[in-house]
């Protein structure tokens, strides 16, 4: 029997920008939910037909775990804007709390409705709870 994993994301009301609550049993799951949640906010309409998945390998650094999360998501935004890639599957390897190696399976999209300008540090704090880790992320759109 496998237990259901504690991980997810939920959009929170914000007057002008977009806010996500994310949670995960461990830090890797938390980061994965942040990536999937950000993809959800983009409102992907269509993926490019006849093209398989594309793998991207990259490393990012941050001053701390929150900085690492913003750097990781900013990297995904860069691939979106320059190559129209959105994340499908995430594989992360953390080096302490200040750097990570990412292997991301992506999909090329032909149409999405929302432009996210940036991932912000606004009130960003990754908190430990009884079940795992949680944070709120604000995106500038």
């Amino acid at each position: 029997m496998t237990l259901k994993t504690w991980a997810g994301f939920e959009e929170i009301d914000h007057t002008a920008d977009l806010e996500l609550k994310i949670w995960g049993e461990d830090i890797a799951l938390l980061f994965e939910q942040a990536a999937l949640g950000m993809k959800d906010l983009l409102q992907v309409e269509a993926v490019s037909p006849q093209e398989g998945s594309i793998v991207k390998n990259f490393s990012v650094e941050g001053i701390d775990i929150e900085g690492l999360l913003v750097s990781f998501l900013s990297e995904l935004l860069y691939y979106l804007e320059t190559e129209n890639l959105v994340v499908q599957e995430v594989n992360l390897h953390f080096e302490e709390k200040k750097s990570l190696d990412a292997r991301i399976r992506c999909q090329r999209v032909s149409s999405y409705l929302r432009e996210i300008k940036a991932v912000t540090y606004h009130n960003l704090e990754i908190r430990k709870t009884e079940q795992g880790w949680t944070a709120n992320l604000v995106f500038d759109i």
């Binding site: 002008a16 977009l18 001053i63 409705l113 929302r114 432009e115 540090y121 759109i141």
Partner: protein, 483 residues
């Protein structure tokens, strides 16, 4: 949360959160608003964010928030803060990711009657000539070297390349080229993102709008601007696109460690900053100016293609389809300016985020044509409602570091707006009221529904009644182009 009870009325339409409200405040917060608008303001986090902004090191005078304020990230939208030059700080988050997001207004000698039969064609031509929407590149594909020329020269680059007339530059803030821009302070990644986005509108709340000059309130100022009642005008609202977003992203990241080096403690990490005279502060200022120039050039190239759209839809059908620049002004920017603080003229860095520069008559930086009347202030309202043209006043120089409001200001989240309004219904309603709508996404249209915004007339009444701007003209929309 800050409640109305915490506010002290200073004078009509101006309120204060005093220094005593929180121990880490360095200056008070002043709010320009009517009593009615104050109720909206206390519903979201704008005021706590303004209090956080008032903790930035080196602030002078007061943090001012405009009546169109709303909650942002870190620094509230509608906020103005001035830091002493050169030992005060500069904060990328207090300027925003869309550096030099701004508005341009063009006038014409084309009457509403003349254009009415061709309005749908004109809206379609603008939609076709001016690239808009998510992920859309433009007509131009620049090399990195050409991007660097745009960053250094802004609208002057556009003039050299045949996308501008000299009068456009003469009637642009900073003549469309802010000096001190240094492309070597910008990442290769930002430059790459900038290669195909000069001359693109983007999405979100950015738009091109065909307007009718419905009513003139100040004939002398309107004459100077070339605005005539019953004629057509054009507004363009956009910024520095992915280029500016990347510049801000890069520097908010690098300033995370700079604050530790300079021993700066802040209530929100998005407010990270560095002294203006530090290596980090100087680098950001030079990079931010590149993004400012990129945005000026972007709106200039869009103007070129809007002119081509007017020609293609109207040539041979009307007498004069030409568009003349009224003004182009930023509403997300950091500027080194001289202001009177505690009886002394001092140099400061004015951070305006969702606030428009609004210099009064006689200000040094104004073009000759606006020297006597004051600087045009362009205040686009929510889609399908109305926009205002104002001018800055002497009062704005003394009370708000020469700044005024920038729009209607949101009151409802995008998700809530979409639950309240269907994009298709909104489009049909606008079309029925005589407004031609061209929108890339119906969901995007619903997010920008007028119901999600404050009443622009109430916002403009608050700044004009407060005395920090004066009414010149009221514009009514006839055609809206959105990404």
């Amino acid at each position: 949360m800050v409640s109305i009870r915490d506010l002290k009325q200073i004078r009509p339409f101006e309120w204060e959160i005093p220094l005593s409200y929180r121990s880490d405040m360095r200056v008070p917060v002043r709010i320009i608003a009517s009593e009615e608008l104050l109720k909206d303001v206390t519903r979201d986090k704008s005021l706590p964010q303004a209090v956080n902004a008032s903790t930035l090191p080196g602030l002078v005078g007061q943090v001012v928030v405009m009546p169109d304020m709303h909650q942002g990230y870190g620094f509230p939208i509608g906020g103005v803060a001035a830091t002493r030059y050169p030992d005060g700080v500069i904060s990328p988050g207090a300027i925003g990711y869309d550096i030099n997001c701004g508005v341009r207004l063009l006038s014409s000698r084309l009457s509403h009657q003349e254009v009415q039969p061709y309005l749908a064609d004109l809206a379609s031509a603008l939609n076709q000539y001016c690239p808009s929407g998510v992920g859309q590149g433009g007509h131009l594909q620049l090399s990195i070297k050409e991007v660097e020329e745009v960053l250094r020269d802004g609208s002057s680059w556009a003039l050299r390349e045949g996308y501008a007339q000299q009068e456009d530059l003469d009637r642009t803030e900073e003549s469309g080229r802010i000096s001190g821009a240094d492309p070597s302070e910008v990442s290769h990644r930002a430059k790459s993102r900038g290669r195909d986005q000069v001359g693109t509108l983007g999405s979100g709340n950015h738009f091109i709008e065909v307007d009718l000059v419905e009513k003139i309130f100040d004939q002398r100022a309107a004459d100077a601007m070339g605005l005539r009642e019953g004629d057509i005008a054009l507004q363009i609202h956009c910024g520095s696109r992915g280029f500016g977003h990347q510049v801000c992203t890069d520097y908010v990241k690098s300033f995370q460690s700079a604050v530790n080096r300079y021993g700066i403690e802040l209530p929100d990490r998005e407010l990270v900053c560095a002294p203006l005279d530090s290596p980090e502060g100087k680098s950001y200022l030079a990079a931010m100016r590149c993004a400012a120039n990129y945005a000026f050039a972007n709106r200039q190239v869009l103007t070129h293609f809007a002119r081509r759209a007017f020609e293609s839809a109207l040539a041979g059908k009307v007498q004069d389809w030409h568009l003349h620049q009224v003004y182009d002004v930023a509403h997300n920017m950091g500027k080194i300016e001289t202001h009177l603080v505690d009886g002394q003229q001092i140099k400061v860095c004015v951070h305006r985020k969702g606030a428009t520069r609004a210099f009064g008559p006689g200000a040094e930086d104004l073009p000759a044509v606006y020297k006597e009347i004051g600087q045009p202030v362009l205040v686009p309202g929510s889609m399908g409602t109305a926009s205002w043209v104002l001018v800055g006043t002497e009062e704005s120089m003394h009370r708000s570091f020469g700044s005024s409001c920038h729009g209607a200001g949101r009151t409802m989240s995008r998700t809530q707006a979409k639950k309240t309004v269907w994009g298709e219904d909104l489009r049909d309603e606008l079309e029925r009221s005589g407004i031609a709508v061209r929108a890339g996404s119906m969901a995007g249209l619903a997010e920008e529904a007028p119901v999600a915004y404050k009443d622009v007339h109430a916002v403009v009444d608050a700044v004009t009644d407060a005395g920090i701007a004066k009414k010149v003209a009221l514009l009514k929309p006839l055609g809206v182009i959105k990404g």
